[in-house]
Symmetry: C2
Subunit: 339 residues, 2 copies
């Protein structure tokens, strides 16, 4: 079956067989020396490891996977890698997975549910589990994938599927209270992606807290999370009569800042702006009041849930739902209501 020339990829990499030969033992013994050393005499283990080291032997994961049905790989699928709250999460997932001995596939769905579904289908046969960040797929589709492989969701709340939720409701509520405390009476919420769990959560939190404090709350659509969308929303924002805005995320908030600056409206003197996710930190001008994100922790936690479940032989746990609290970080874009 082998073509005439050596295979393209691994040309004559040492196999378990060559190690066995050099060590003067059987292939089975070599295998055991790595997977179950306690079954062997210590000196045998040493002998085998020595031979392996000399040959530069590395186990072939494809063969291992074929035999065990386990791959040593995870996949992380995200809606938009360019969104700044994603990379820290990826980074945390990668670190945590690496520490647990897993390599990580990355998939970018570009906010397209169909593409996300396809990605999962293609990745399934070579991963042990998935981390899905802010999945845009339908609940039924997610459930189907969860049946094929262990799967942990981040910022998507589906009962029965392990999930890590960054609970921005608390932080957003604090933002509303903060603005109310500064005397604002009419407040706008600038929406994010419509299918986003986070957006629904934040919108609700603004509304509820605003109602409680007797504020008027208007909700403005933005459709996308982007700088431009924020800038373009400024017109509607000013027409709404609000004196302060809570934006779905920092990108939108930054766009709003730019749009206000263009119109010569001073922040926070004439208008207050709060963001969410704390991804731009103090990088805006003025430094943005925002809600802390904990994206790194969310990623790390998701992998912990996944690997612990994989370790326990895939035994389904009861419903797991981890909430990560958030708090308001007051910087310099919020101030007293203009008089």
């Amino acid at each position: 079956m082998r073509s005439s020339e050596p295979r393209a990829a691994a040309r004559s990499a040492p196999t378990i067989g060559s190690v066995a030969e050099v060590a003067g033992v059987s292939r089975a013994t070599v295998s055991r020396a790595f997977t179950r050393p306690q079954m062997l005499r210590p000196e045998t283990v040493e002998k085998v490891r020595d031979a392996a080291r000399r040959l530069g032997y590395v186990p072939n994961p494809a063969a291992k996977a074929l035999s065990t049905g386990r791959f040593g790989n995870l996949a992380m699928v995200v809606p938009d890698i360019a969104n700044p709250y994603i990379p820290p999460m990826i980074s945390a997932v990668e670190e945590q997975a690496d520490a647990a001995g897993f390599a990580v596939f990355l998939g970018n769905s570009a906010e397209d549910p169909a593409r996300e579904d396809l990605l999962l289908r293609k990745l399934t046969p070579q991963v042990d589990g998935f981390v899905l960040a802010a999945s845009r797929m339908g609940e039924d589709v997610i459930r189907r994938h969860a049946q094929a492989r262990p799967l942990v969701l981040v910022n998507r709340d589906i009962e029965g599927i392990p999930r890590v939720l960054i609970d921005t409701a608390g932080g957003v509520a604090q933002a509303v209270e903060h603005l109310a405390g500064l005397g604002h009476r009419r407040l706008a919420y600038l929406s994010g992606p419509p299918h986003s769990w986070a957006n629904a959560q934040r919108r609700r939190a603004v509304k509820r807290t605003g109602d409680k404090l007797g504020l008027e709350v208007v909700t403005l659509p933005a459709r996308l999370s982007s700088h431009d969308a924020g800038r373009q929303a400024v017109g509607a924002l000013l027409e709404s009569g609000a004196t302060a805005v809570v934006a779905f995320d920092d990108l939108l908030a930054q766009g709003v800042l730019a749009g206000l600056a263009e119109r010569g409206i001073r922040v926070p003197g004439e208008f207050s702006v709060a963001g969410c996710d704390d991804v731009l930190a103090a990088q805006t001008f003025p430094p943005l009041t925002t809600v802390s994100a904990r994206a790194r922790e969310a990623g790390a936690t998701a992998v912990e849930l996944l690997t612990s479940r994989l370790g326990s032989g895939g035994g389904a746990m009861s419903d797991v739902r981890v909430m990560l609290d958030t708090t308001l970080v007051v910087r310099a874009t919020t101030g007293p209501r203009p008089v």
Copy 2:
């Protein structure tokens, strides 16, 4: 060898055997229906594909890899996924790889050459090739890896290894000319990571162009590419007597803008700032004059090089070195020398 319970990962996924059974053909025919349809009668192909579809058959990549020595996977390794010029590149790599039928592993070296080396070693046995962005590893180490697997570098210039270089020298030279044209006589270059090819290239371009135009050029170290590093460099910047700065990248430039704003120094009225990479677009205040990046194209090109080389049976081409030109994007942070 199978343990009593079904394997953890793929429980009874349909195999080529089940498809063969349903379609009433041999397993070899099923295999050929997917890999070499032209060898079969069209109706046979149709019959097989039909059965496969009904069963939801997905080829097992581990078995395929074991048999062919090809994996259908690429790995992309980056120094720091949080650096905003990286995600667009990853995104492009992913798209292009996906289009060519490859899945993508992502590795984050955290700027650590040893970690990068380890990552590659662990990934090697399950990928067909690598894209290394701004690798921090030693040249000999890279060459060794390149011997094990086809490998394309981005922004790292090693003879004999295919590489895609974003040639910011041109854009940076334009920036210096632009500043000279505005009357600046003393100019600073704010450095980036010391082991970075891009940093060396940009520093040289500033120096050379400055010399040519009779400007005084001072080079300031920054060690890191970060907002804070830029802000902290402002003191040294002002002491240097320069009236304009070209920063290694936009992040540094943005930090400089913040540091200047803190001191009440107006941009571009009293000081001019230019960045590089165009990752913040118009998101700074004022919108940043910078050098275009083309990170997406670089990523896509790298994958093209890689897959074309893989397609051609791994036959080594002669030296490949793709340069992507850049140009200056003038926005609002550069202006006439203060009088």
